[in-house]
Amino acid sequence: MPPRVIAVRSRALAAMAVALFASVASAQNSNSTMDEIARYRQMLQEGNPAELLIARGEELWKTPRGPNNASLEKCDLGLGPGVIKGAYARLPRYFADADQVLDFEGRLVYCMVTLQGFARADVVKSPFSGTGQRQTDIESITTYVVDQSRGMKIDVPQEHPKEKAAFERGRYLFYMRGGPYDFACSTCHGADNQRIRLQDLPNFEETEAARLAFAQWPAYRVSQGALRTMQWRINDCFRQQRFPEPVFVSQATIDLITFLGVRANGGTMDSPSIKR
């Protein structure tokens, strides 16, 4: 069939194009909104810009830096000095040298301070990149390390008393309502099949949902054009909760991540993922 010619000069081009394709579009619109959103998410999976950061993170991990001119290769993430494979999937955990439960980012800060000699205040000052800024060292290194746990089982330990205490405090914070909106984490993440606008809200009291959610952080957020870490995820939840700002790698944030991680135990790491 010869194509029908539309004069470009006519204002009707766009309008006609719409009309011509409206029938096609409406036929495909029989799917629900949520099915279409699922399709959009599926389309994003190919080509995750987080991959661009992995090489940079690896270089930062292996290059001698800081006042001690040391690399991070001797950093013990819980599986022995320098062992990265699978380490992220087993954090947070108790570290005897720090006498503290630490998440990955907390442990990274510890290693940058103790091994490389950076001042802690400098390391924790700006952990998250802003709009239009280059990704931070912490974000890059986190991407490299979490990628080495892809496909591994989430196994956040609950053996040491301090690991158990971290879980209990994290659980308390999860349910703690406060601020001018009376929100707690549980407001959005304490029941099945809830969503804000069109974004699904995992119920962290439900094992499968908790596993899927925990497994996908850190993630590349297309809405921000940036890789975002778990500490950022917690930070931005509290912003929207109208809470004061959580201190980066504070015990309270690590406790909450411990609670979420233990709830997700048995899940399979799938990070860095790509999200809206």
């Binding site: 810009p49 661009l52 239009g132 054009g225």
Partner: protein
């Protein structure tokens, strides 16, 4: 210096499948910064992909291409072990070239 690209080139039955991720801000020139000033446009304007000295794809982009751009296409005539070269140039004259071996 701009960050390296991620290039994947795979020889399939129906041609060489090329997938490229580029690290670039792709600033639209419409966004305002914290002080209310317009952030100037900064975007990849041209992309060239070549194989054996021949251009297999060239592209002109405006700032409406998403941040950290992704590009996928297929060409014929390449085989395993050949090199594919991707070059981008942005509107400020910055440029980056990376190569990948067809797998």
């Amino acid at each position: 210096m701009p960050d390296p690209m991620r290039i994947r080139a795979n020889a399939l039955a129906d041609g060489v499948d090329v997938r490229v991720l580029m690290s670039h801000e792709m600033e639209t020139g419409q966004r305002k910064d914290g002080s209310g000033n317009i952030v100037p446009a900064h975007f990849i304007s041209n992309v060239t992909v070549s194989h054996s000295g021949k251009v297999v794809l060239s592209a002109e982009w405006g700032p409406a291409i998403s941040k950290n751009p992704y590009l996928q296409f297929k060409f014929h005539g390449g085989s395993k072990g050949d090199e594919v070269t991707v070059t981008w140039v942005d509107n400020k004259g910055e440029t980056r070239t990376d190569k990948a071996v067809i797998g």
